[in-house]
Symmetry: C2
Subunit: 476 residues, 2 copies
């Protein structure tokens, strides 16, 4: 393996350059959900293409087409593809990131202009996109550049895939990945995504699991139109009454899901997995602070984390068609749709969940003895994902983290989903590693988003080391 | 008693005049909820004042002030007061009606211009306000006019109270009634309101009861802000889950209210009252047609009517603060407010209902074991009203109906409320009679509102006869 210390020293020496480049891209307000800023998203994509070209990568822009936003037809920004190295003796690693950002404005409460990278005394670099995801995306570039400047051979071939619509539905991405699985992505051996965060603020982590989500609309229909509760109240079956009773049969206030058989396929907790929770850099007070309330269901950290990551949960989101304004309107709504979703875990599948939800609600509706009609619709089902910690891709990420940070990383999952993870895994049939650069408190979608300078520099070292560790893996 | 047959013949002879006058007022689009038409409401009030003056009444306009609607400060239309006769040997009857109307436009589906009275071959006179409430208001004027033209002494003194904001909250009316109870209304012996409808389409009725309404907002608060269900689902107590469970403890799908003690004060069903239901001109298919669905809870007419009129009902209207849009948003709402109301009946009181609702919800929330916080707010409580059918005012109305129509009227209640009824009763301490002119299918707030010509003419006879019958009552 190459001399990593030389690499690390080089990275530290060039810190100022890396910060300047980050400043340059933070200044491009590539907000994908703002039609007026769409040209800036395109500009940011072309900036990345130019940098990749400068570093000797062969690039290609994939334009997914147009979409309509705020009544305007807009050109979707390009997915920037790049190939760096085609040495058949080397492994090929696909790295994914996104160059678009969340909206931001001073009036939201930022303490400095969100599109001006502002360095604070404590090492924080504040600016929109600093951690999500421009810092990590640039990190990959500096890994290549550092190797070139030091004359160290990059031990793997790289494929880049940087999109500009991640914060706005990733339109066109999945289709492209599936279409190019046997084309542009044919030689990929492993995938690495750096677009998430440490569990806490002091210990790095490797993320190996994401929950899936199955969303439902439960409709109860009765009268032909909304009715006056004074005139009709007491005479007919009210859809809202039925719906509220049905929604009440889904989940208990303590979070227990009441759908028969729903837990049947939840993977058993192994000793190996359980041991992971004991060492986590995590305190429930951080979760309470982030939620703005001390209303946690479980008293201890371990149960809380397990219910966030490895057990399903069911949330009731709201009701369409009922009165939702201020004050009171004495209406009997004619048709109401309850919306809820279940966060799913291995080995639950969307089809299985949809079947059990429907069977349960049909049985419960039968019990109500109502003359209204009920319909359950499965809206969308994103599968859960769990990577294999024993896979060489994860082993490489783990060893890289240990080398850079001197500690064994936390092995974490996340409660939400990063859909592209599963798309890559399913379309390419390769292991996907989530290797974060930033910390839990970076505020990715909030005001005063930041990336700690130490996380930026150590993150660049981490990505570089990961590539070397992966190259050393013989079983990939 | 005067020669009613002469009076009736006179009314029939002047039918064309009465229709022309109705055409004249329907043509004034006095829509109280449309700021651009507010001048027309004022015009309609002045039209009535002029007619009352023409008939020799002493009039007075009470201007309640201004209000803000659609961001505009508007002058409230006048409450037109009139005194006709001050003979101390006669009884004084207060008649109430309103001269404003609901909005209407051809584009809503009217088959003719809503503000042009259109006579159909079947005797229907179609036009906005024809039955609600310009027809009945004009009816009182023609009673006075007919007596003058025939030289028949009007057997009572009249006080008129015609308002122009009934369809828009009756702003300023209650305050005026209370303030003038011992002033302008001091000598009133009985009150008559003609602003409701027969139960069906063929048999007249006398209305002696209205349900009250007690509305509530049930708030559950948890997180400091809305949360992502992927990140937090399973870890904390979700306000929506608590709220749905609490709302589910209020009422069963069959309409049974589950609040302990809620039925304690509901008046017992007497044989006398029960007998009233057996003879009603009512078929449940009419209710089904009006509701647009065959979802009635009770199989028979009597139970259906009783649950509409004389038993309380509880309707769940909706939820504020939850997701209410189309599609799905995987949110954990931080603060949700369930809105519901109870239609109340004798001898329930708003205070008693509020107390029982709160006690019930607090006990149920306790059972949930949730760390969220709950708050119940009683939004407004309108009392129910039941008149005494044995009171001379009702006896007079009953005999008048029998004389004009040749049948004993149905004795009906209504499920909704006409708040001014109770205001008059409470402020003046006098009996209030609801004596309808139109039919159940008049479509008061719908398209193609109509008044049958026969109902108009017989209604004028009815109002006249009622005054004579009331004058003949010795026990008033």
């Amino acid at each position: 393996m190459a001399d990593l210390d030389t690499l690390y020293a080089h990275i530290e020496e060039h810190a100022a350059d890396y910060v300047e480049k980050l400043r340059e891209v933070v200044a491009i307000p590539s907000v994908s959900s703002d039609a007026t800023l769409r040209p800036k998203v395109h500009e940011m994509g072309l900036w990345l293409q130019a940098e990749l070209e400068r570093l000797g990568a062969e690039t290609k822009l994939h334009y997914p087409g147009t979409h309509v936003m705020d009544g305007e037809e807009l050109e979707l920004p390009p997915i920037v593809l790049g190939t760096y190295g085609t040495d058949e003796s080397k492994k090929t690693v696909l790295v994914y990131g996104h160059y678009d950002v969340q909206p931001a404005s001073l009036s939201d409460g930022w303490t400095s202009d969100p599109f001006t990278l502002t360095e604070l005394d404590n090492g924080r670099m504040v600016g929109r996109g600093s951690t999500d995801d421009k810092g990590p995306v640039l990190g990959w570039l500096w890994v290549v550049e550092a190797h070139q400047q030091l004359g160290i051979d990059l031990p793997v071939n790289l494929k880049f895939c940087f999109e500009g619509m991640e914060e706005n539905g990733s339109e066109g991405l999945d289709e492209m990945i599936v279409a190019e699985a046997d084309g542009y992505f044919a030689n990929v051996d492993a995938v690495c995504i750096s677009d998430n965060y440490w569990l806490g603020t002091s210990k790095p982590c490797i993320t190996f699991g994401l929950r899936g989500v199955s969303a439902f609309a439960l409709t109860v229909t009765g009268p032909g139109w909304d009715l006056h509760s004074g005139v009709y109240g007491g005479t007919l079956h009210e859809p809202m009454t039925d719906l509220i009773h049905l929604m009440g049969t889904l989940v208990k206030p303590n979070g227990e899901i009441l759908i028969p058989g729903i837990m049947d396929n939840v993977a058993d907790l192994t000793e190996e997995e359980e041991a992971l929770y004991d060492v986590l850099d995590f305190d429930v007070s951080e979760l309470e602070a982030a939620a703005g309330a001390q209303t946690l269901i479980h008293d201890d950290k371990k149960q809380t984390i397990m219910h966030r990551w490895r057990y399903p949960s069911l949330s009731l989101h709201g009701i369409e068609g009922a009165f939702s304004g201020q004050g009171v309107k004495t209406v009997i709504p004619a048709k109401v749709m309850g919306k809820f979703s279940i966060r799913t875990v291995p080995n639950q599948t969307p089809d299985e969940i949809a079947e059990k939800v429907k069977a349960h609600l049909e049985a419960e509706f039968e019990k109500l003895g109502s003359k209204n009609t009920m319909h359950v619709e499965a809206l969308h089902g994103g599968k859960c994902w769990v990577g294999d910690l024993n896979h060489p891709n994860f082993k490489a990420g783990t060893r890289a983290t240990e080398k850079v940070y001197g500690v064994t990383p936390d092995f974490t999952r996340e409660g939400g989903s990063i859909p592209v993870t599963l798309t890559f895994q399913d379309a390419l049939g390769k292991s996907v590693l989530l290797l974060p650069m930033g910390r839990a408190d970076d505020g990715a979608h909030s005001i005063n988003e930041k990336l700690d300078k130490s996380n930026y520099l150590n993150g660049i070292k981490l990505l570089a080391t990961y590539l070397h560790e992966l190259a050393a893996e013989t079983d990939l």
